[in-house]
Structures are given as C-alpha cells and as structure tokens.
Symmetry: C2
Subunit: 453 residues, 2 copies
C-alpha cells in the first residue's frame, strides 16, 4: 500500500458513498491523522431501513436523513464533496468526477446497490422500487393517488384495479410495505372516503421462494405470514411474476398462471451492485458475482489492490459463511468501521485480523403490535417483537441524529399511527388523479398563465 | 338564490380550493344540514405562512400540511374531491372537472393567487416564487445547491456569483427569506464547508417602494430594516429589477442602474389572482382589478349571482377601507367563516350584515430574537416580538393540527436553529452541482443500467 510515511502530506483517504458503509468509515477516521474526502451524489445520509415509512406516509424524508456536512461539521480532517464519480484510475490513484480529479492513497468504495428487474428493465416504470427519497415520494404518490383515483372511478372493474396493490418480493421491504398498506387501507383511511370502502382493498404479496423473510428462522417466517394474513394481506409463496403489461400482472404459482389487474405494483424483489462495481471491474480486473457485487478479500480490499476497499451492499464477502454476507445496514456499518480502523493500523505499521461480521440478529415490522425478531438465541413475535423493534429503532435513530425530541416524535407518530406525511407531491402531483399511476399519459403541469385584462 | 327548501335533497355547497378560505368555509358548514364538496388539486391543506421555512431547511413539507381527507374525516356531510376545475357554468349551476360535472346550489371560489412577474414571464424559471410545496423544495434545492456549487468552484468570480443571493420583494416573504438565508450563511453553515467561507455570502433584498413591510407601521419597517442589516442583509429600497439575463440581475435604484452576478434569484414580489378568476369573469361577467382579483359585493358574493362567493386572495373586497383587504391568511379565514355562516342563515330565511374584517395585526420574523409585530395599539420589536411570533404560530399550528408534540418539535427546532430539512431532492437532485441553478443545462438523471456480466 502506498503509505505516505516518507513525506509530510497526510494520507489521503477517499470514500465514495455516504450510506452506512461510507458514513461509518468516515466516522472511524474522523480523529485519525489522515485527510478524508467523502464523495456522494446527495447532500445527505439516508436511514434506508425506514424508507418504507416515508413511502407509506408515516415519516418525512428529513426525518430519516442527516445532512452529511452537518454530520462532519466538527471533523476538520473530513471534506464532503457533492458529486458523481465517473471513473477510477487505480494506476495514478485518482478518482474522476466530471472534469475534477481527486487523488487518493486509500480508496473506499461504498456505493451500495440498485434495484434489479432480472433483465425486465421495462418493468421499472410500472413497478418502482424503493432505494432513494425520490423513490419513496413516488411510491407515496402512487399509493395515496390510487385511493384518490378509486374514489373518483365509477366503473367497478377499474375501481377494483385501483384498489389492488401487488408487492413483488417477500423480504423485509416487501413485508413491511404490505403490512403498512394493509394498516392504511383497513384502519387509517377507513373514514376518509365517501364513495369507496377502503376495506375492499386487495393486497397481494408475491414471494418467489417457499417462505417470506427467508433470512430469518422458519418459525418466524411462519409467524410473519400469519400476522400478514390476519391484517388482510393475500400471501403467495413459490410465486414468480412472469409478465407486467399495462396494469395486468401475470404471476406463476406452482404451474398455474394467474392474472390480476392492479394499478399499483411495487417492486421489492431484486438488487444488484451499483454501476461503480462495473467501473472497478474494468479498471482493476476484480471479479464480480452474478448480481454485480464485487468479490472482496478477507480484509475487504480487492485482489491486487490492497489500498482499494469495497464495503456494504456492493461487496460480496464470502470468507465467513458459505454464502455472502447479506446486504443490510449492520454489515455495511461494521465493514466501514473495520476499514477505518485497518487504515489507521496500517499507518502505524500494524495490521488487523480479517473482517468478522458480528450478527446481532434481524427484525421486521409488520404492523401495530406485530413484528418478528430473530436474535439467534431469542426469537420474538407479536407485541413483544413490536416493542423490541421500536426500541431498537429509537436507539438507532438517537445514534443517527442525537435529536431526542425528533425520535420521540417519531415513536409517538408511529405508535399513534399518525399519517400526516401523506402528501401527494412532485411534478406529476397536479396531474388528474385518473392518470396518476399511468406514466405513459403523463402531462406536464399546466403552465401558469398571467391573467390578461 | 336557488335555495332548495321545496325538495328533500340537501343544499349542495361546492367549494373550490382548500386553502385558508375554503378550509374554514367547509369547517363552518361541517355541522350544517347541507352537503359540501371541497375540490382541490392537492390532497392537503398548506399552512403557507411557514412555507419559507421549508424553503430554507427548517421544516418538512408535511410539518405544515394537513391531509384534507383527515381534516374532514369525521364530517360526514363533506366530500373531498381531488381534481382541477376547468370551467364553471353559472346557468346550469355546475362545476366542470375534465369529464366530471359537479352540480351546486351555492358555489364558493377560493383558489387564491399565483406569482406575477409583471409581464416578464420568462423570469419565472430563473427567479422562482414561493406558493407551493414544490416551489419550496425547488428553492431549498437552489439555496443549498448554491453553497455546494460554490464549494466546488475554483474561479473566484463564479464563486462570488454562487454566494450571491438576490431576493426581489420586501414584503413578509421577502423579508423572512432574506433573514433565514442570512442566518444560514452566517451561522448554521459556518463550520460545514472546507473551501469556502460562507460568511462571505452576499444577500440583497430589493424593494420597489420606499420601505420594506409596507403594510406595517413605518417605525416597524425601520426596525426590521435595521435588524436585517445587522444580520448582514444588503437592503435596497426604491429599487426595481429591470432585467434578468442568465445570472445577471440588473436593478434600478433612483436613476442608477446596477448589475450583479447571482446564481440564486428568489421572487417574492408580485401576485395575481388565480386563473379561476378569469373563468368567473368570462362566465358571469364579473369585474376584476388590475391584478386579476375578482371584485366582490359587501357579502362576498359576485354581482348578479348571489349564490357565487369569492373569498381569500382571489377576492378584491373594498367595502371596508379605501384599498382592498390584503391577501393574508386571517382575511381568507374570516371570509370563509363568514360565507359558511351566511349560507346557513339564508337557508333559515335570515341574513347577515356585510362582511367585516377584524384585523388582529401582522407580524414578520426576521431571525433569532428578531421580529416585528404590529397590533395597532401595541408594537413590538426584537426579542419580545420574536417570542410573540413564536407563540402566535404555536397557537395557529395547534389549531391547525392539534398534534401538540409536532408543534413542540417545531418550536424546538426553530429555537435551536436545527436545519435538518436541508435535503436537496427532486428530479434534478442528481445533476452535477455546477449546473444546479442553471435550468437550461438540465439533464435527466442517469438511467440505471443493469450490470452486464
């Protein structure tokens, strides 16, 4: 590694991506005698695990975002740079952003993952996924817009399509979305409409494998399934979407094909490594797996380049279990902390044992008093799991924001099921409700004309 | 008036617009034996007086919005309809929304006002105004984006343009924006950047007339001017913008022309009645004033149609003072309540004396411990005014939302100058910071490409 011990300029660490991985790497280096440049396309860090609550109207984007500059305001060795990296040159040790060039001694790539439509990229428009604030606002617009459109629709068949929600993917995001939409339809919005009965809403959760939440213990999957069904969600396992055309979703369960008309299809199925993985592969020759993740060494560096690290959702770390570590926040966070520490050790001429993920368990929220918690030794369901989920997230949010009052408000809103944040906003918000979910008929908002007198 | 006393179908009241006027009219009718249809393009009511705090990063849109359906959830006689009214037919007593027709016995038009660029409509793109949530998010993107772009800019002249903010219009919105941006630049963001010194930011407030806040007592205008100047705002009265081209603003003060390069120009100058005023003029022949407002009768109905009322910013009510009532929330609110009451009286065969605006005074926030309050008999400045402003807004927000905790959080954030809500979001958020404020170079966000393996 190009450790700049000989000269006086401090060691330059460049981190690409301000998600959990990048953020915790930068935090680990905040007091080290290195210079850190943290590059992100966005000016904020996003607490992605709660993004589904923005999509379903419980939280505002800023409730789960922290401006990167204010996080590192006091860390004078850390520079936040807003921009998009186009290329990396591992020979000259430079990162390229447009016509700007940032040199590095050590590079940490933490650009995460994007949705994957398994080659059916045309599904993206009809079945949006949930990765960014904009995704969440768009989902929110579609979900609340669907009820609005149903209220105006007089044709019973079309109304049914507006009141049908199909969620593809039974991982945590899919389960949490399905549970939240069920509570919306069957509880929160019940009194709000005059023409429709929101309790007629149909919510389908489609899962390819034999059970939902496959990363949890089988008994917890079963408990979550029962909870979802009690809430009113129709659950289909062993089910794959084979076609989406207009508002018709075709899915295959066992060997039977079913069609359902739905105006709101939400994608929570596949992810793939972000494009930076491809850039790395092209410039360093590093290998990637079937979903575009970069294969990393036991210390999270990449083969042939001990000063380039890949962490978080973009990394395929397979040195602990038979299968790669999952793409979840705690993995990214621990990897960021590990690399931050490793860089400091190396500068002292020391080293660290290989990265080891300390699995603290996993949890998923289904609805009021309904959650599942898998802590290996302890498994919780129902109210206890729900209370535990709440406590854990309060803890994370405090650590994340240190604004106790915000967290208190969040918990309060969450407990009381207050859905203030159900604004339909964005450029398409002015468009007639009828075409809300129909991207092809999108019209630009009416240009304000001056009054002619 | 077509009072439907003879038959059994209840009297149909249609309200267009869910701002302060429409909202309070509907609230006044919530327990009356009439049917109310409240039509709005948006699914929420917006507390517009605090919109500038969304634009400057203190509040989230949902902090100052209330979903219309949840406001009227319990009022079973009230139906909320999401849609845009295209036309009115006063003869058949119908309101037309696309291919939908809504009949009325009494119509209340409360569609408010839009920006006016005094015929220079091409300025709108470079100098956006502040009326909607989208406007506020766009302003926020431009304000925070300007600091980001300045941080990356190496050319000192261009950097100065990024750090120059021009606010056109010295009414409450202009004053509040100028004060908030000054606090951002000189206090909140001071420690956040590494290349720029945000205290070098230049903030110009341009006012056409001889003093800012012309609706207040002269001594309060003077006090506000001193406060703004203490904060660091450069104030120009007797000043008119004569040209905006690219990022060059030309303004004329007395008889001298000055040019300034600014990447962030914010419009808080003129308003005009919304397009619904034109529709009313064409269909009923009612007169409008120079700024497109509809001239109303002493009971807020329009000439020749005692079952059509116009209230709020769209109405020109000149039966109380020599000049029309100002376009502020309390006027709209009281007019809405008046019309709601009048309709009920008429149905009982009674009437009401003409509308009378009870002016409770006006106030404007400048910055921490700096505000001006004009209550006719009592005039406050400095800390006392600031505390009073806070109390009044806490009171309004409680009435508005009844969620004490939210209000408490808001007040806390406000007092502690917490700017969590400074996310740069929206479709253009991914665009390179350099072109952030340059609409002409807008590129669509990079399409996510699947990884090819």
């Amino acid at each position: 590694m190009a450790v700049s011990l000989e000269n006086n300029t401090p060691h330059q660490v460049v981190i690409i991506g301000g998600g959990f991985g990048g953020l915790y790497a930068a935090k680990a280096l905040a007091k080290a005698s290195v210079n850190v440049t943290l590059i992100d396309k966005r000016n904020f860090h996003l607490f992605q695990p709660l993004l589904y609550q923005v999509a379903t109207g419980t939280l505002s984007p800023s409730d789960i975002s922290a401006p990167l500059r204010s996080v590192f305001s006091k860390s004078k060795n850390t520079k936040v740079l807003l921009g998009e990296v186009n290329d990396i040159d591992p020979k000259t040790q430079q990162v390229i952003l447009g016509d700007e060039v940032v040199p590095y001694d050590t590079l940490i790539v933490a650009t995460g993952a994007n949705h994957s439509y398994f080659g059916k990229d045309n599904w993206e428009k009809v079945a949006p996924g949930l990765k960014t604030v904009e995704d969440a606002i768009e989902m929110r617009r579609r979900i609340f817009g669907a009820f609005e459109a149903a209220e105006k629709e007089t044709d019973p068949e079309k109304r049914r399509a507006w009141l049908s929600f199909v969620i593809v993917g039974g991982g945590p995001t899919g389960v949490e979305l399905a549970g939240a939409i069920a509570e919306l339809a069957y509880k929160t919005l019940k009194e709000d409409f005059r023409s429709i009965d929101t309790s007629e809403t149909k919510i389908l959760l489609l899962q390819g494998g034999p059970r939902i939440l496959p990363h949890m213990a089988p008994e917890l999957s079963a408990s979550a399934a029962v909870s979802l069904q009690t809430l009113g969600v129709e659950l289909h396992t062993h089910t794959r979407v084979t076609n989406i055309e207009g508002d018709i979703v075709t899915f295959k369960q066992d060997n039977e094909f079913t069609e359902i008309a739905s105006k709101t299809i939400l994608w929570a199925a596949g992810v793939q490594g972000s494009p930076m993985g491809k850039v790395l592969a092209e410039t360093t020759g590093v290998e990637r797996d079937y979903s575009g993740r970069v294969i990393v060494e036991p210390d999270l560096s990449i083969e042939g380049y001990d000063n380039i690290f890949v962490i978080g959702d973009l990394a395929n770390f397979s040195h602990q279990d038979a299968k790669p570590l999952p793409g979840v926040a705690p993995v990214a966070k621990q990897q960021g902390e590990y690399v931050g520490k490793l860089i400091q050790r190396r500068l002292q001429g020391k080293t660290l044992p290989q990265f080891h993920y300390n699995d603290v368990g996993s949890l998923a929220m289904i609805g009021q008093n309904l959650a599942v918690v898998d802590l290996s030794l302890i498994k919780l369901t129902g109210f206890l799991a729900w209370a535990f989920w709440l406590l854990v997230h309060i803890y994370f949010l405090i650590e994340f924001d240190t604004k106790l009052l915000v967290v208190f408000q969040w918990a309060w809103n969450y407990i009381t099921r207050n859905r203030r944040s159900r604004l339909i906003t964005g450029r398409e918000a002015f468009v007639e409700a009828k075409s809300i979910n129909n991207s092809s008929t999108y019209q630009t908002p009416e240009k304000k004309q001056p009054v002619k007198l």
